[in-house]
Symmetry: C3
Subunit: 326 residues, 3 copies
């Protein structure tokens, strides 16, 4: 039994959201459709729904990430939940206490959802395996493994512009090796039946046997962008690099940085995406990032709706009769 299975109940409904692997097209479409209906909430005068009123959502951040924490916090508050943020790295709760003891204590406070960010792959799954059955666990990024809510917001953003996945050509460009975003997105796009999915990167920034994930590999940018409908640029994870995997940022930009000239290889109505924060002049030129084809800020906006959707769905599935602990 792995993360793919532990996140589903016997009827195949989402109880946790740990990884895109093992989900069916039906799961993704349910999230996208729910997010679509929640998307309008943010444009109302009153940006709140009572869905999670009286529920407690705990941000369990073992790795600091203001941006991700903020979007989950806003999503939970717009669903009327109470939100508790615990930066475990800096918390005294952890002094002489194991992760499991910390978990046991927080769940004993009758919380309903854990949003977990951890530098180790598999951390969210580990937590989902050990929490009481009434708690939903969302993976907000674990090591190099997965960042599934980011993948879903990317897919949601694509669908709003290019709704016919089977006809799409998608290029993911940059540091695939260190990117949990890339890994999750590749799974999601394959599940949705994208026709042509390519990764574009130097050999040193590709995982071993990346083709087995269901992608074509290009080492040259112009070729990789050819006729693309969607271009996903990745952040150069400088802080995750060990040793000299690439010569210099300038050289990287010269070979793999997205400029307007290079974007001309893609389709004329191609959209450009980036999970943020962007390194201007490293993986993307400012004229592209701020240009008319960029949907980078839409991704941020969509991230709230998608996280609201995932929170509603997983907690909703928990609300059906399951043995609730006392």
């Amino acid at each position: 039994m792995n993360a793919a299975h532990i996140q589903l109940d016997r009827q195949g409904r989402l109880l946790h959201f740990l990884t895109v692997e093992g989900l069916s097209r039906r799961h993704l479409i349910e999230i996208l459709d729910t997010a679509e209906s929640l998307h309008g909430v943010a444009e109302r005068r009153v940006k709140k729904l009572p869905t999670l009123h009286g529920k407690t959502v705990v941000n369990l951040f073992f790795e600091v990430s203001t941006r991700t924490r903020t979007t989950f916090e806003l999503a939970a508050k717009r669903l009327s939940a109470d939100v508790l943020t615990l930066n475990i790295a800096t918390s005294s709760a952890v002094k002489g206490e194991s992760l499991l003891d910390t978990l046991r204590n927080i769940e004993a406070m009758q919380c309903d959802m854990f949003v977990v960010r951890h530098q180790q792959s598999g951390a969210a799954e580990f937590i989902a395996r050990h929490v009481k059955p009434h708690i939903a666990v969302l993976n907000a990024g674990d090591g190099r493994h997965a960042h599934p809510t980011q993948a879903l917001l990317d897919v949601f953003t694509i669908r709003r512009h290019k709704p016919d996945f089977p006809s799409l050509q998608v290029a993911i460009v940059g540091d695939i090796l260190h990117s949990r975003v890339a890994r999750s997105l590749i799974h999601a796009l394959n599940i949705l039946g994208v026709a042509d999915l390519r990764v574009v990167a130097p050999r040193t920034l590709l995982p071993a046997r990346v083709e087995t994930l269901g992608v074509r590999v290009c080492h040259e940018l112009n070729q990789g962008l050819r006729d693309a409908d969607v271009v996903v640029m990745l952040r150069l994870q400088r802080e995750r690099m060990e040793g000299a995997l690439l010569p210099s940022e300038q050289e990287f930009f010269q070979r793999y940085g997205l400029t307007e000239e290079r974007l001309a290889s893609a389709k004329s109505d191609a959209i450009v995406m980036h999970p943020g924060p962007i390194n201007r002049g490293v993986e993307i030129d400012s004229r592209v990032a701020d240009g008319p084809r960029s949907v980078i800020l839409e991704q941020v906006t969509n991230g709230i709706a998608v996280r609201m959707a995932i929170m509603s769905i997983t907690l909703g599935n928990h609300a059906r009769p399951v043995g609730e602990g006392s």
Copy 2:
């Protein structure tokens, strides 16, 4: 006039909650009964009551404690209060400003309750003495002196399993000297008429003249546990130890660590408690901590209900006509 008196109004009702000393059985029973009625709230779909809607609760933490802060924050939010957390140790508010000036400023913001955690004994009492009459002060731990909400949640947990206090034999084991938990709990159990209350510790971890608190002293664990209904293990406060009060943690465990074998001296239905966080293999063996007699995690759950009860009672008593400042 001391803390015992300042926390009561002329009719003997609780205005603050600073210490268990000087409270009557009636006060404790009121808290326990109120907590019992609030205990069910956490099992409802909507875990919120409107009791403190529109009230502002300020966590004034001069000593960092994620665990305690979290339980007070959850208790306040489940009563619909607004919660403000000020970590005074790290706050710029304190630069060149005395504690009293900081207090005066926060009370001028029309807050209703201060939850105070301080490394100095008497800090919460000092604050209660100086705040405006409309503010309730709760002691969330002051130095070695008291941790009265912990004592009440312990007593609440005991009553849920063993409701007849006068018939009980209770053993408190470990570092009594540095434990504000022990001090508060001893007072509470004596007020409730516990028949046989023992402390079990080496001489170096006992306060001078501890017998005057109304306990029997044992230096040997098996003897101390004999026929106990309730065993309360204390955390070895390594961070509070000055100098070599005990030889080593291993040796401590050998003499005072609670194992299943030793627990056999207690009654067969004895419950095992610990205020947390536990030091596994130092004061308690994992098989006991995670075993069927352990109610350690119930204590955490009960802590929310007991703190909700104390908040409701003290603020409720403030709401009766008292001269409110403008």
Copy 3:
């Protein structure tokens, strides 16, 4: 176009609150009257209004200030807004990301108001110039430039005691040079037509050509206080001083510290103000700070009502049909 203009819409209504400069008497009176009506809210049992329910207020603090952040947070919560606090100085959001990119991201999260504190003059104006039209920006202090909500709460406090501005004599005493409070307050009092406005300070703590702001300059305290109705003491901004602008704090106190003896020069019903936190024995003697003429703590209380008023007015003006971004 400067900050004075960018904060108004074409009908001259407040969209942002960046500076007192360029505002009309009508703007100030609208804020003061609204604050007066909100002042009573804090004395009710339920200290909340639904005005900003469903709105998201973001505290964007580039400079740490617990006191100011707390008052804005309370003001927003008492108007039922959701509040998000981002300490940008310490936030990972800023790693390799420009201020504008950080801004774009936060506004993409569909927030409604930014409360900005920054060590650089003009920062709030810069942000107001670049945010989407549906967002209101409030200046919570920018460098030496302005602290307009403090000025308004000062004026509000004066009006509650001395409602006839044109008849007033007001003395502002101390470190005018480094004080954004002084600068904003001078503008506000001039707009309200105060008859006689003096600044009292040594030459080294006065800005060049301070008279052009519409004040009389006194270098001697007794003379500066003569017949004053209102005495505003400033905090000696030790942390902002570069080099030796004054000999020592003791000497400063001897020449410019406010004592009861010196206060005798002012009118017998004069009020004493200070923006806090006070340096006792440096710019003000404790007997004055805690004495019957001091309204220093009233200022803190009034600060909540004034900030609630400014939040309500600016967001209210945004709610009228303006092109809202999607």
